[in-house]
Symmetry: C2
Subunit: 472 residues, 2 copies
């Protein structure tokens, strides 16, 4: 599965590097325990795993300690792999060339909270969910909502998004500044703390989404948004996936400012019923879930507008909850979707989770064709989409090499189809190891060569997370 980098090959001076980190930062700073290595080199969530593991796992406590680790690894030409939540699905933290995994476990503090400036300064292992819980009383929140285990460092690395992206954009839109340890140990701060700036190259936008290949993000200032005055959750079912996708794209196209619009297929709804985590039996039909938010009166306007479009597309009566507790119950199906799928796995079975995004108007076509393909496959797979921004996911369970081949073909076909529709091989998961092969088709050799030039300017020995995004 792994091809060697053709030109640059990180050295193997791991042992003296580990010794030196140990000497400089103390015994607890670096581990070579088998359990630690396995935990940082393998993921049961991931669609791609490799045989190799990191040779050590470092646990820095500060930017200065990360800089020391980088300086030592740079000196011995040892690969470095940043690690925070560990929930990425494309092999982002796999140790393709061994090296040291740098786990931000001990860097999980909120450094400063500036409610008056609507921003917050955090370390990479802060959980977005805990952070939101802690600042709730200020009336502010961080609107990017990937999977619950995700942490800020990884969210920056993959330019993640989630259900709120249709309203609030993606991770890159919420970064005010970053403190970055470069591959040679130098520390930079991309900018100060203005909410907007035109001063120099946009390094925030460059490091965000670079998947740990350009440096370690050790601190981030993030913009915050206001918790809307009023909110609501809605749900409706459709006869076909095409009807549901049509309704979703029409809602966005008509400018109804929904907070989220999520499509779950019949298989997904059936799985949620089977796992029984929501305390309700759902119809096993293509289903749209909505979030509404805004002023009290604005939300009423939006609900009525959505109701009309749902009806035009032969949807069932829109069910809406505005009471906070009842909203949570109705949204629970959406929230439990991935977990329910994962619970369906029998022992030893694997999961392949993938995402693509296309221009809005192509979404109904892509959803319909992909659904047909998935059904033909004869394996167990479901579809779920952040359809308001043309982004959707497939999650497929499988067992053994033969079934892996089938899944792989299905995913490849979907990705190629998405790119041919002027879309992308990934809307929010990132490239990692799993989607490198699609990069050239998607962005072209010219753009890839520009990316390679940037990479080499910052990391000439290709030490930062080597083997990910693209090869030399």
């Amino acid at each position: 599965m792994l091809r060697l980098l053709p030109r640059i090959k990180p050295g193997r001076q791991s042992i003296p590097a580990i010794r030196e980190i140990n000497q400089e930062l103390g015994e607890d700073s670096i581990s070579t325990d088998d359990e630690d290595l396995k935990m940082h080199g393998y993921s049961e969530w991931s669609s791609v795993n490799i045989d190799r593991l990191p040779v050590a796992v470092a646990f820095p406590k500060s930017t200065a300690e990360v800089a020391t680790i980088a300086r030592v690894c740079h000196k011995y030409k040892v690969p470095m792999i940043p690690y925070s939540g560990g929930s990425s699905v494309e092999g982002h933290f796999a140790a393709s060339f061994g090296g040291v995994s740098v786990d931000f476990l001990n860097m999980s503090e909120v450094v400063a909270f500036h409610p008056e400036d609507m921003d917050i300064v955090v370390q990479p292992s802060v959980s977005w969910m805990e952070m939101n819980e802690n600042i709730k009383s200020s009336g502010l929140f961080f609107p990017i909502d990937p999977g619950p285990p995700a942490k800020i460092g990884g969210m920056i690395a993959t330019n993640c998004s989630g259900t709120n992206a249709v309203r609030y954009g993606t991770m890159k839109d919420w970064v005010v500044n970053l403190t970055v340890v470069l591959p040679d140990g130098r520390v930079i701060k991309t900018r100060k703390r203005p909410r907007k700036s035109s001063a120099g190259y946009n390094l925030n936008g460059l490091f965000t989404g670079s998947e740990g290949t350009l440096g370690f993000v050790t601190e981030a200032t993030l913009k915050l948004a206001h918790i809307p005055q009023e909110s609501g959750v809605g749900m409706t079912t459709f006869k076909t996936m095409r009807d549901a996708a049509n309704a979703a794209t029409q809602i966005v196209r008509q400018g109804i400012p929904v907070g989220a619009v999520e499509l779950l297929d019949d298989v997904q709804m059936d799985v949620i019923n089977k796992m029984g985590a929501t305390g309700r039996v759902w119809k096993t039909l293509p289903t749209l879930f909505f979030k509404f938010s805004g002023t009290k009166l604005g939300v009423q306007d939006n609900i009525e507008d959505v109701r009309k479009i749902v009806k035009d597309n032969r949807g069932s009566e829109l069910e809406v909850e505005q009471d906070k507790a009842k909203q949570a119950v109705l949204w629970s199906a959406r929230k439990e979707a991935l977990w329910s799928m994962l619970c369906m796995r029998e022992s030893g079975h694997e999961v392949w989770s993938t995402d693509v995004a296309v221009p809005l108007s192509r979404l109904p076509d892509l959803v319909e064709i992909s659904k047909r393909d998935l059904d033909k496959l004869g394996l167990f797979g479901s579809m779920l989409g952040h359809v308001g921004d043309g982004n959707f996911h497939e999650t497929i369970l499988f067992n053994g090499a033969e079934e892996r081949e089938l899944v792989s073909k299905c995913v490849h076909d979907m990705v190629h189809r998405a790119i041919e529709m002027e879309g992308t091989c990934t809307g929010e998961h990132g490239i990692g190891l799993g989607k490198k092969e699609f990069m050239e088709k998607e962005v072209g050799e010219g753009s890839l060569s520009v990316m390679r030039g940037i990479k080499l300017s910052l990391d000439p020995f290709w030490l930062m997370n080597p083997g990910k995004v693209f090869d030399p």
Copy 2:
């Protein structure tokens, strides 16, 4: 004023380069007329002008022709300077090292309009105002609104924004993909046409705001937004600048989703009265102008919320217009502000227009101190702010070298103050020639070295718009 680049000095092989462009693209493709040179090397809008002019001005008609120009200039090591609207104010298109100005005059077409995908594909000399006029009937618009003469190419180059930024963000948030001619003539397209993507480095975000120093943007796909159902314009006056700034920041801080909130000082209001372009006499007091937009009911909510905060800060009764024609009249004062200032200039007098941005909570302090400084100066200057995102402008008229010194000191003091308040030396104008000296203080030597590395990876001979943003 201009210091020579210490290490890299573009060659002077202009004459054979001009001849070769002429041969390859035809007689009309390149001009050496004095008038053309002057128009492309000097700007009466700009706070900085230099004595040197470009040696020629090229007028490409396509991406392929731009690639030819770049290939020839690269071969002879001749500097290249992109030019579109010519309305930038920090010497962005000054010919610091001579070279060829590349004017996109003949590339002003809408290439494709995809209302169903909510995007539009345009060439660099498309005017944002004309574009919005032409697509109005689709219910869509492009929300970034810099000065009226601005064109898309320059708007991308400076990561511009304008009055709508508090609601819609800045230029970088609206770019789907870019076609870029690199300094050696290669053509890349940053990505396909998905509204979101996590595939590879964010080249859109890198080229946007790079001020033409990394390549020529020859085509851009831009996201569009929905024209809100309902809109309104509001206006109120305050006793002091601090009261006005406090009201503005409280409105944003409380999450009232205003479409814009603009602060004009007493001097600015007086100038508008004197020029008489609005058909109304305004009070010469610190004044806030608002845009409201949303659903019918949502706008009512917002107006009432703003009214309360204005009252809490001792503002006058909020005047609101919701009729389209009356809105335009009320907004006219804001719209005519800069033009009125420029009309005040006597013959031979110059203008210095500058902007900074700071974290929201620091805005009232900065505005108050800067206003006091400006008054002390004894020159004619006004203040105007996009205060909802902590960004504001000073426009100062002056005559001769002695007064230039005074203005320069005033601007320098304001910029240093903004940076010390964790702000930026420019929120939306960009660096150009005029603000290079502040870059190191703002982003630090480390970030500057990263930017230099990126620049060298794409433009090793420093041919693209040399002398701007930072030096080698």
